[in-house]
Amino acid sequence: MLQKRTSGMYESFVRSGRETHATHYCAGCGHGIIHKIVAEALAEMGLQDRTIMVNPIGCSVFGYYYWDCGNIGAAHGRAQAVATAINRTLRDAIVIAYQGDGDLAAIGFNNTFQAASRGEHMAVFFANNAIYGMTGGQMAPTSLAGMRTMTSPAGRDPGHEGYPMRVCEVLNQLKAPVYIERVSVADTPRIMRARRAVRKALEIQREGKGYAFVEFISPCPTSVGMDPVRASRFCMEEMEREFPLGCLRDHSEEALPRAPRASAPTVPQFFGQEADIETAAPAPDPAFRERRLKFAGFGGQGVMSLGVCVAEAARMERRFTTWFPSYGPEQRGGAAACSVVVAGQAIGSPAVDRPDVLVCMSLPAYERFVGLVAPGGTVVVDDSVPCRVAAPAGVRVVALPATRLATSLGAPKAANTLMLAALGRLEVTGLSRGSLLRALDASFRNKPALAEKNRALFAEAEAWIDAHPWGAQSE
């Protein structure tokens, strides 16, 4: 039976670089048998055009010499990551990952485990010969206890090298796989069962039902140092004791084919709805003096959104603007700061080293940044912050009871809105009151009730500043 040619394989293996009908595998190697039963199934099921075979690194790196279907070579261990991508992007393809034990169970085990756990739509054919063949007979994750290899010359000692890995049993702990079976190609009855397993795995793919995993116990006479007959016997006697044959799972009846994709808008349609349509691109105005602002406080005080609000107001006036946050652990650790530049032409540095305007809502923020404010600049600080550090000469400091006012008005989280109003009243942003208010509204566009409330707070803060024209300011 196995001598018969199959149209699933190339007639002549010219991809090897010469006209040949012989594979590159050693006599008695299981790979040739597995290749052939996979090829037969692909041909008989009419799947060759649709099939993409991901070839691994190892002895079967040259699978593409033989299989007459689409072939892609993957990096060592990565076949199932590569196959995942094909499955996710070509929904009609039949995706197969063919891997040996080092590739699948050592360097690539996490990719195996994760692809199985996600239930990727692929058939995985795993040739387990308990040894590294191509690199010259080193220990595999599936090498048996006591087995002598180039890297376990005294025999695999489980106390030192660990026990052989039973991959089917590990994957059987996962929810997603549809089909898991271990077969063998050590003799003809076993090969017949292996053929059925291959067809089952491919049927699951044809029906779009999910992840199918078939492990083949496969002889490697060369690397285990036996003649082909003894190598087959080693598979049946020694390996099957460690790796019992049989079907561990078959959910192919219950599994549902995957749903077709829902229709979606085009990219321009989608971003057309998402865009801030009312805002045109910035317009150059060289007469406009560039303003550099810094906002700083604790996380939760709204300093980041205050900065965004000023930048949005600048956009409404078609100014160039940049917003740059502190980020990472600093942000999560409590301190928050952001920098905003408002300009009449393209902005160079978005980092604000010497702010014209500093808004501080916490003591650490004030002490860290106040010394950097440029001459002629303004510091607006929450009056709960004791300003023990003096501002540089020529810098105006305005202490605003933002937190107190916001709390007394029943909106303790809205102190930033009062700060925004102060920036408008103090005329330090170069932006109009109307734009600041519109930007404030826009920031609550999904919460109309809050927009109303914040407008009221904005007006309260203005009234307070008007009532305290000089009292809160110092130079």
Binding site: N71, I72, T89, D92, P268, F324, Y327, P329
Partner: protein, 351 residues
Amino acid sequence: MTKFVKGNEAVVIGALYAGCDVYFGYPITPASEIAHAAAQWFPAVGREFLQAECETASINMVYGAAAAGRLAMTASSGPGMSLMQEGLSYMAGAELPGVVVDIMRSGPGLGNVFPEQSDYNQAVKGGGHGNYRCVVLAPASVQEMCDLTVKAFSMSFAYRTPALLLADGLLGQMMETLRLPEGELPRPETRTWAVEGTAETRRNLITSIFLDVQTQEAHNLRLQAKYAVMERESYCETYQCEDAEVLLVGYGISSRIARTAVEALRAGGVRAGLFRPVSLSPFPAEALCACAAGRRVLVVEHSVGQFRDDVLFHLAREGRRYQEVGLVNRLGGIIVTVGEVVEAARRVLGS
């Protein structure tokens, strides 16, 4: 139409307008917003998003999708980029297109999450094994985070080699006004080489193994010939160079700081100009040499002279000496201040 977005979000908008089919990625600061935006926007327009189990998986997924003729991308930073180098080498070897965004952070090792430009050599010289080159583009604004992502896809497919968008934490995190692209890129022709699960593409083969030494050498030489053609497509930007006595040279965020420094220097009576490579690979070497002729040069970067070495290499062909090229830089996530650049430029002129 405009949108006020972070640089990291602009990347995703650019990718979608470029026709990117799929995003694979693993979270890392300061690149994570790219994955956040992709997770939201790719499925919204019927494209695929998948969080990979690690960066080696991400890049090999990009490899797999590219081998299947799809437009794929990933993004990462620092340690994640290092993990991807083997995959990039495989992509270059198998001549697969795809886009990788590097939002550089400070290293080596875990370093921190603040901006640096210390992945320059890794990106520009081909950080994996073998003789290969990637396209490397260096945006300097949120607009370019989008536009150069589009460009990265088109160049990557034109030359069938991976393209990197080399940005940093500051560019990724900052917000600016983005003009949305005019339209989508036309879909590249892939059927002549990709394996797409069709009768037409069944005999195509994607691999980078050539066991025969002659064949492997020929493959290498063919790649080099391809890179030589690619070399002609370099991009740069100049600012106030016409009458400059000192030329600042910087890419990405460093060029933004240098631009402000040019203005500050000119306000103080020093005629400064800026040369900014937009593509780092191919490097706009001729344009740089022409621009630097007869001028003092100051390199602004956020690494230990990795970029200056290339500037020196190109200028040396014109007979310029090491001493004529100054360097101002900061490391560890500290941004060079405009004041530091101004001071260094005055030093370079005075020397």
